[in-house]
């Protein structure tokens, strides 16, 4: 049977031969290293040296070697000093080309030689068989294969020669490629590695491999924890030196390459007891738990069958607020618990109530709330558990999203009384819901905005006592936001309060409250036409989030970034953002509402009005049923913009709805911040007949503010269809030159046209782009991607 030549490897060998450069093959077992070398040098006199247990099996006198090529097989087993020195001497002997074969990487002891002599490296990718290679291999084995199957085999085997061999064996007699064949080849490979290689590896290595194989990635600490081996760094080094199995995942994490991972899982199933496997899962769960990775911890507690671990983690999760906790992600785990386990734990009952509220199932949330109430009233439950139930009820009374703010002050009064008696301690609270707003945060506090200063005077101390660190900065930020939205507070006061709130939150409060401050500040800067200032604050806060590892804020920070980008017109950022946020009709949790709102804006800006409308309709239902007045006003404004863009008369109904609601609170900025997008709507509304229940003063104020914002950002949420712009060839040329900053004289000169001729082309360009002047034409052309700045071709 002849060897199937692999061109890439042979080209490198040829180059190495020209300059007598040493060659090193770094590839796992089964890639055909030895076959490639034997075939290539078949007509040359070669001396083959073998390595075992750290040494060469023989070390002939170098001066007596007549061969021009010395092949070193299994160099991964070389580690003794004398043999290493012998190899180094060999490498530096003129007239001898050394070809080294190893399953590991270039050994550290040859680093200097590698640098000095310039090793030619032949890697696994140079030895893989492509589709033609697979066909030749099959032909050589007298096995027929169709072109289509050759492609499948090449892809499934990734060109790994030993795998291709097993495919040839299994497809003998004209058997077509199938999933069953693929699984069969996988088993063949496992058995081969098991019998030919496994026992050659150090026991410490195989123990390590079997201990970590079930996990996506691991670091040294995790591997030590799972194996109990404190010298695992030596094992990892051994693995790097002698084999090609580890993948460096970065940040000191590793994983096993996919095929080996599967092999070790198979080996584990066949050699470990069920108890040993579960113990491994339990250790991993505990490791993740200690590291604060609740999702992974829960997954592996579940796999370990450790219901106690699952339950304890779910209870701990129920102590975190929805912004940090994993209610929705853990839903299946909550529901998997036996009912008697759930009903015996106030924390878990409360967790379920919160979960259902978050996923828009208020009725189910109420059912669990009532279970908790029944638990608290049931005297056969212990005093401690009933006390815990009281705490949980108080927490749900404040925190359940579907309850809104109805009766919240009475609730806070009860809580304060219970706290005074030492009867309760609340779990973690979040007033912000991870969004950059406090009035529209965890709950909608727009009703308090009507008399914000007076309420703040009475509520600041109680809020401080009840919310503790979670409320630091809350009151001053709430006043700032209320004043901003109503346009009743000057810029200086808004920003000063934001600064005070940020400092209070940063010093002993929470980063979530800092985000609120950032949200208000950016909006204040935006209405003043200062998007660069807004972006600076935003970028600075992004850095703070990274430093404090506040990963739970990242999705909404990215949403804010997408929103800020819209003021320059729709671009890549808006497009990417719209792609990354899922459709809320498919996957919804109220903690993502801020992202969904920005997605609607991005879709409007991208001209995808129907998609925007579908999502807006869905969200409107949630906003109505959960008393989210601010979001409701926002969504009605956006719907009016969408319908206006679509040329549908429904725009009027939605803007009137928004205005009627907004005027209850005097929320001017909720509408005017939509600037250039809402201005045409307002202009047309004012031109027609106004219903009597819209206050003229309020409408006028909104209108004037909208004009101001629109003047700063004329391209906000505006979409111009690129396909509708048909420029002539000459117009395209002129437009490119305009965008490149060329003067009129230069353009006329280059294109050899008169000034009048240029004016005519300009008029055509402006008309087609809907622009009034050169600057606007340039801006629109760039926005639409018609030209790149500086293009003069």
């Amino acid at each position: 049977m002849s060897y199937i030549k692999v061109n890439k490897a042979f080209e490198k060998l040829k180059k190495a031969e020209e300059f007598y450069s040493p060659v090193i093959f770094t590839a796992a077992c089964g890639y055909g290293k030895s076959s490639a070398v034997k075939y290539y040098y078949r007509r040359k006199s070669c001396c083959i040296l073998y390595c075992k247990d750290g040494n060469f099996t023989e070390m002939p006198d170098i001066a007596s070697i007549r061969a021009s090529v010395v092949i070193v097989e299994d160099m991964q087993w070389l580690y003794e000093k004398d043999s290493i020195n012998y190899l180094k001497e060999l490498l530096r002997t003129p007239g001898i080309q050394v070809v080294m074969l190893t399953r590991g990487e270039v050994p550290r002891f040859l680093s200097a030689e590698d640098l000095d002599l310039g090793f030619v490296r032949i890697k696994e990718s140079d030895l893989t068989l492509d589709v033609e290679g697979v066909k030749s291999f099959f032909a050589e084995h007298d096995v027929e294969i169709s072109d289509e199957d050759a492609v499948s085999v090449a892809a499934a085997s990734k060109g790994y020669v030993r795998a291709v061999y097993y495919y040839a064996v299994r497809m003998e007699g004209g058997v077509a490629y199938s999933e069953g064949i693929r699984q069969g080849v996988r088993q063949d490979l496992f058995k081969y590695w098991d019998t030919a290689l496994y026992d050659m590896w150090l026991p410490e290595f195989t123990d390590f491999a079997l201990s970590v194989c079930r996990y996506k990635k691991f670091n040294l600490e995790m591997a030590e924890y799972l194996t109990g081996n404190r010298n695992l760094w030596q094992v990892i080094q051994y693995c790097k030196d002698t084999m090609h199995q580890l993948v460096d995942e970065g940040d000191d994490y590793y994983s096993f390459r996919f095929e080996m991972k599967k092999f070790y899982c198979w080996k584990q199933e066949n050699s470990w007891t069920k108890e040993a496997i579960q113990d491994n899962y339990r250790k991993a769960a505990h490791y993740y738990d200690v590291k604060g990775d609740a999702t992974q911890a829960l997954r592996y507690y579940d796999k370990a069958g450790d219901m106690r671990g699952v339950k304890e983690l779910l209870i701990r999760n129920a102590n975190t607020h929805p912004g940090l906790g994993h209610y929705v992600e853990f839903k299946d785990y909550y529901l998997k618990l036996p009912r008697e386990e759930i009903l015996g734990s106030p924390a878990i009952i409360a967790g379920l109530s919160m979960l259902y509220s978050l996923i828009l199932e208020p009725e189910k949330s109420k059912e669990w709330y009532n279970e908790l109430k029944a638990f608290e009233q049931n005297r056969s439950n212990s005093k401690e558990l009933r006390r815990e139930a009281r705490c949980r009820l108080a927490y749900l009374d404040i925190g359940l999203p579907h309850k809104g703010t109805r009766g919240i002050i009475k609730t806070m009064k009860n809580i304060f009384t219970l706290m005074g008696k030492g009867d309760i301690r609340l779990p973690e609270l979040s007033a912000t819901g991870n969004v950059p707003s406090i009035m529209n945060g965890g709950l909608d506090f727009s009703d308090w905005s009507k008399n914000d200063t007076q309420i703040a005077k009475f509520m600041s101390v109680p809020v401080e006592i009840i919310t503790g660190k979670y409320g630091k900065g809350l009151v001053t930020l709430a006043l700032a936001e209320s004043g901003f939205e109503k346009n009743t507070m000057g810029k200086y006061e808004v920003l000063t309060r934001c600064n005070d709130g940020f400092q209070a939150a940063a010093g002993g409060g929470t980063i979530e409250m800092c985000f609120v401050s950032v949200g208000i500040q950016t909006r204040q800067h935006v209405v003043e036409g200062q998007v660069p200032s807004a972006k600076r604050i935003y970028e600075s806060f992004k850095e703070k989030t990274k430093e404090e590892n506040a990963r739970h804020l990242i999705p909404n920070i990215e949403a804010m970034g997408a929103w800020l980008s819209l003021f320059a017109g729709a671009g890549k950022e808006a497009e990417n953002f719209a792609q990354t946020v899922p459709d809320p009709r498919v996957y919804f949790t109220i903690t993502d509402r801020y992202r969904f709102m920005q997605k609607v804006r991005c879709l409007i800006a991208l001209g995808r009005e129907q998609e925007a409308l579908d999502i807006a309709d869905f969200l409107a239902g949630y906003f109505t049923s959960y008393d989210r007045h601010i979001h409701y006003i926002e969504i009605e404004v956006l719907k009016s913009i969408i319908f206006y863009h679509m040329g549908a008369k429904e725009w009027k109904e939605h803007i009137l709805t928004a205005l009627k609601k907004a005027q209850e609170y005097h929320f001017v900025r909720l509408i005017s911040l939509e600037g250039a997008a809402i201005l045409p709507v307002l202009i047309e509304l004012r031109a027609g007949e106004m219903p009597g229940d819209i206050m003229q003063d309020f409408l006028e104020e909104v209108y004037q503010e909208s004009i101001k914002v629109a003047s700063f950002y004329p391209d906000y949420l505006r979409h111009v269809q690129k396909e509708n712009v048909q420029l002539t060839k000459r117009e395209s040329q002129v437009l490119s030159m305009l965008c490149a900053g060329m003067s009129t004289e230069e353009i006329c000169d280059i294109l050899n046209i008169s000034y009048e001729g240029l004016k005519k082309h300009n008029r055509g360009i402006y008309r087609k782009l809907g622009a009034k002047n050169r600057a606007e034409a340039e801006r629109k052309a760039t926005q639409m991607g018609l030209v790149y700045r500086g293009d003069t071709n």
Binding site: I409, K413, F416, N451, T453, Q454, K457, P462
Partner: protein, 87 residues
Amino acid sequence: MKFRSEVKIKRGTNLRLICKQKEATVDEEDYYIVELIEEGITADDELIARVGRKYNEDEVSAKLRLAQFVEDYSDFLAEGEKSGVFG
């Protein structure tokens, strides 16, 4: 804390607040606060102290009671005055 200048207080079988198109029936437990405001007790500290004494409540509970009053009858109350600079 005080009522808006245009608010009228009507007494009959119950106590009602009327302001332009809006009207609200006052809860019995809030009568005392309405009376205090009618008497001219509008300073917040004084209101807190009096309410606390009347209902035998500490300062925080009294503040919460007054906050509830503001929430319930916000349409009839004047905007609060800021105390000092950004108070």
